[in-house]
Symmetry: C2
Subunit: 354 residues, 2 copies
Amino acid sequence: MGATKTVAAKADGQRGARATINDVARLAGVSKKTVSRVINRSPLLNEETREKVEKVIRELGYVPNPQARALALRRNFLVGLIHDNPNAQMVLNMQQGILEALQGTEFEMVVRPVDRNSAMMLDDVRVFLERQRLFGVVILPPISENDALAALCDEVGCRYVRMGSAQLDDGIHMVASNDREAVREATDYLIQQGHSLIGLIEGPDGFRSARERRLGFEEALQAAGLTLPRSLIAQGNYTFETGVTAANRLLDLSPRPTAIFASNDEMAAGIVFAARERGIAIPDELSVIGFDDTPIAAHIWPPLTTVRWPIVSMARAAARKLVGDMVGGQAAAEQPSELPSTLVKRASVAPPPA
Amino acid sequence: MGATKTVAAKADGQRGARATINDVARLAGVSKKTVSRVINRSPLLNEETREKVEKVIRELGYVPNPQARALALRRNFLVGLIHDNPNAQMVLNMQQGILEALQGTEFEMVVRPVDRNSAMMLDDVRVFLERQRLFGVVILPPISENDALAALCDEVGCRYVRMGSAQLDDGIHMVASNDREAVREATDYLIQQGHSLIGLIEGPDGFRSARERRLGFEEALQAAGLTLPRSLIAQGNYTFETGVTAANRLLDLSPRPTAIFASNDEMAAGIVFAARERGIAIPDELSVIGFDDTPIAAHIWPPLTTVRWPIVSMARAAARKLVGDMVGGQAAAEQPSELPSTLVKRASVAPPPA
DNA sequence: AGCATGATGGAAACCGGTGTCAGATTAAAG
DNA sequence: CTTTAATCTGACACCGGTTTCCATCATGCT
């Protein structure tokens, strides 16, 4: 039976079987260990030897077996993406950003949705991390705001980078935008257009993003000397449906607000929907600004003025922070930990009716 | 420092470190190999021995190390998701379906977007499959229609299941919906409402889904004795923007169609957008039906009548087909390979104007 | 020149499982 | 009460890397 083993025509050609570290070592006239040193960028290594080995690796098209490395290093070359609930477009953009950063490396991305409300959530994640021995994880908002989760990562020795709407730590384990400032700017824009009765549909309690966006909104009004009665603030949970409900409440008010800022685009789309049902014209009778710049913002009528949240770049930066050192790129610390949001002006804002 | 190790909640056994197969073997008084047989559900095994070993496994909370298994089996416990381009909501729903099927198993999902137009696509995928030694892949439309890709999977010995709009093979490697029939039904509905001048915005050439949906449309018209002049057919590439363009072409016609079927919701949303720009009322002056039932269908005004494409169930079935045998569930062959689409009636269809 | 010093390279053990195959055990048959 | 066959079991090599421990070798210093 031993004779019938897979006949690997390894020597030179790119036959069926792939080259192993032994092939490289033999052809380069060195030991496995030396090849391993080259692969792992060991600093104490003769430059000449390194080049010789690298040449053979190139010629052979040798790629180390990830499974074997994972076993020996007790660490997988996988980056996990932990997320809960959020908007599909957002998650997919994050995935895109991470994959861009992982492009051309030996890393792959595994996706792990979790249920924030489940009592088992932390246990599930623990099993996941310990079992798979992930290289690291990127944690998406809103679950990224869960400090217990970050603590768990530390405990099981898994690197992590959190994404969010404001810095939560020193920037080592975090990539953030600055939502507060962006919303302040967006609200200023409404004020400049002449609005003074501006409603807010904020996100759910306990969400950092909701809090930051609300603070930005309040700061802008305050700076302009405008008051913000409690009645002009409605709350939603970032879904279209709650946006409709919240908008209906605000539009029932008398006097009616002439503009509404929604904490995300889904809810802003809900405002547009509710206004349409009531025959309120946008932007002539009501101005609307959203947040995120998801595709829906551009695809409804009228196209939505919104704040573009740089999630693809954030995710890319997060993934680079994780694997940066390993792939010969910039060090993790050199990755930006805060990225700017920008106001995108479309057709849902106009001066208030006379 | 060994003392400071994470104290895992292991029933009684060892300290922090997790149990290995050797621990189990020792405590059960058998050899590694026997434990391995229990884990892998080997049939030739004394029932008594099996129970004894399983008891120890349970008490120890032992879980085999995936990295070691991957190395020995030359196969990873990862299911790949290969997709290109498509709509975010669709991809995420697919991910959800796959993850549901993988829930509670030792499998994880890794995501791999590809560029259909890149010359390197096949090579990229080959490297991916060979490097990672995936257990199997689920291939999403439209790239799932690429036969070369399926052939590549066969070649490198990677299981695969394709998803699509119609059966392409015997159902072993495919999970499909029956788009043609669903569209025929939707078109019938328009005809029953009294429409006779019905436009079609079809998908791009070379897409199976586009073809099936167009065929269903034509069959319905034919069955009703209606003609379909070439001018009533416009084409888009499944994006909102091309939907707007195509709709504009159809709405310029004279006489103008009183209803339009779009091959997907994005393009249907484009019709609504274009109609709104021209002041054409929906559904009073124009009826619209889309396909997919993505969230946008329910979130625009008026809510879109559309065909609900059962992608979550399809993805779940696909993943089960891949890993079914391994996780003690139903055999792959028992998984359904065709799932039904259903018409969802909302507010974008009405009888034609008088 | 002689010796301490640090830089390399190699043999073998190890990571934690699985395959092979011979030997042990048990059951069925003669 | 053997013999034969069928069923289980375990020793050992192996998957393809990394790491430990040492022997070797070129160089710096006295």
